[in-house]
Amino acid sequence: MFDRLQAMLMKEFLELRRDRWAMFRLVVPLLIQTLAFGYAATFTVRHVATALLDLDNSQASRGLISRFVATGRFNIVDVATRASEITRDLDSGRATAAIVIHAGFARDLANGQTAPLQVNVDGTNSNTALIALGYISQIVSLYESEHLPTIRPVSTMDAVPAVELSLAERPWFNPGIEDTWFFIPGIIGTITLIQVVSLTAFAIVREREVGTLEQIMVSPIRPVEFILGKTVPFFLIGLGDVALVTAFGVLWFHVPFVGNPLIMLLGASLFLLAALGLGLLLSTLSRTQQQAFALNFFLVNPLFILSGFAFPIAAMPAWLRWLTVINPLRYFLVVIRAVFLKGVGITVLWPDLSAMALLALALLGLSVLRFRKSLD
């Protein structure tokens, strides 16, 4: 076993070393995707173009406005003097949100009555609008809590399709964390999955196409030896991926890493084994690189969508939720986010870790069984 495995491993590493573009292909897409996700795919909205109409013009109203400005998330693009100007700003797209403080705001606030505050948002960009509404409601409720009793924001459907304030309480909206912090850990899982599954599948299918696989199958090598020889290098590459993106997230995006690196290593290892199993299975199902490519595409997208990376699993219909149960990425995202951001340990994460271990076992077992040394 040792001789053959050693021969396989030596061959794989030599081939990898000879491949001048390998490092480029392995590292560059990883960094680009991390950067793209880190900057672009974020729920944090900054600089919402905001129009303002302060009909009260009191110390209290100006205090509230300064709160908005201080967050850095609102750009006051227009200080209006009439309601019609606000409508015009929203219609023309100059402003995404409009805040109207009605006359009597300070008086009502002092009297402990409901203070009139109106928020209009441009619902056509519903994502930004929702998020902006979320910020506004936070700021207002904070202000409110400081100046008890209550001010109550009133949302109106004005001129443009507006969104109810209550919608801002969507489950995915997590005001506690910077969204980059939420995304970077997710990227580690997603990118590693894509890379490891496709690397494994393509490596084997290429040998089949070139004909070297036939030359190996005719030898007395055992399937386990062949599969180990093929997977160990990609396992190490996968760990490298995880380490690289983690370092990048921590050093570049300043994502806090509060948990135990060993738990992360354990989670990543189990996850990588499952990903390798998927890649192997895929390679046994494809004769040509084109087929592998098509299958890979077919497989990785649903894995991504059904992982909870961007779309909350809790919000999925029941049958889709069931599908996520066999998705290793789903568990790894839980583990990695928890380790990164919350620092929780095995006591909390063991169900996810065991689920990944089971999936890895099943997938690898299945691929060893399916890899028969036959061309039939």
Binding site: A7, K11, R18, V218, P220, K373
Partner: protein
Amino acid sequence: MSAPQPAVLAEGLTKIFGKFIAVDHLDLTIATGEVVGFIGPNGAGKSTTIRMLCALLTPSAGRAFVAGFDVVGAAEEVREHIGYMSQKFSLYEDLTVWENLRFFAGIYRVPRALFPERGRFAVTMAGLEGREDALVRTLAGGWKQRLALGCAILHRPPVLFLDEPTSGVEPEARRRFWELIHRLAAERVTILVSTHYMEEAEYCNRIALIDRGRLVALGSPGELRRRNLGGTLVALECTPLGAARALLREAPGVAEAAIFGDRMHVLLEGGGLDAAGLGDWLAARGVTAGKAQVIAPSLEDVFVRLVAGRRAEAKA
């Protein structure tokens, strides 16, 4: 093990892909140390047969034993005892000559102590001395082919299956390759080698001719030349060749007419035209013809005859 066992024994070996019969009840016995040439047109079933004998494909029917081991029941033992060069004679292009040898030695578990000597032997055999560290992708076809053979015999298998090892290689390299085959055979290695080149058939102890899955003829080159024609073969120059062939195929007493280069080979079965009358007969029909000469049939004549005969039977 009482009587000397054949190195390869196939009985009724059959492979069916879906509805297509690629190999049809093939019987073949190869004695130890024999070199058997496997000849047949494209798609005849040569590779499929070899793959079944290498335990790479499961036979649909029939049995086969290689080095005494059942290719179905004892596939792993078969694999330990054979060397195989697939039709693509695949090596790892990004590895050097020596690294390829070390890899195949590793997966065949050649003892560490024996490898340096066997590796050297393979390098010498391939004529690659001093180029051990060259990447395989930089080698020309002939060297790759000999290196692939070197890789296939590192574990000193008693039986070798070579699937078109000489395709796409220049004649000089082909000749050197056949020398290697005969050197191995001299050491009692049994070799089944498929080829498209008729002249290579002459280098074999015996030839197995296969056509559309059926074994059509089996014997030494001399036997096949003598046995299978059943008539007198004559050659003559004539123009135009195409018209001459069409005419001759309908002529009385002509069993077969085939074009060989710029000449016509005609097989006369007696009772109709004879060698002397052939020229006049053609001239009367507007074909200029030279003098017909009786010739000894080449293997190619035999194969053309056998395959054409089978085609005619299939149509009838």
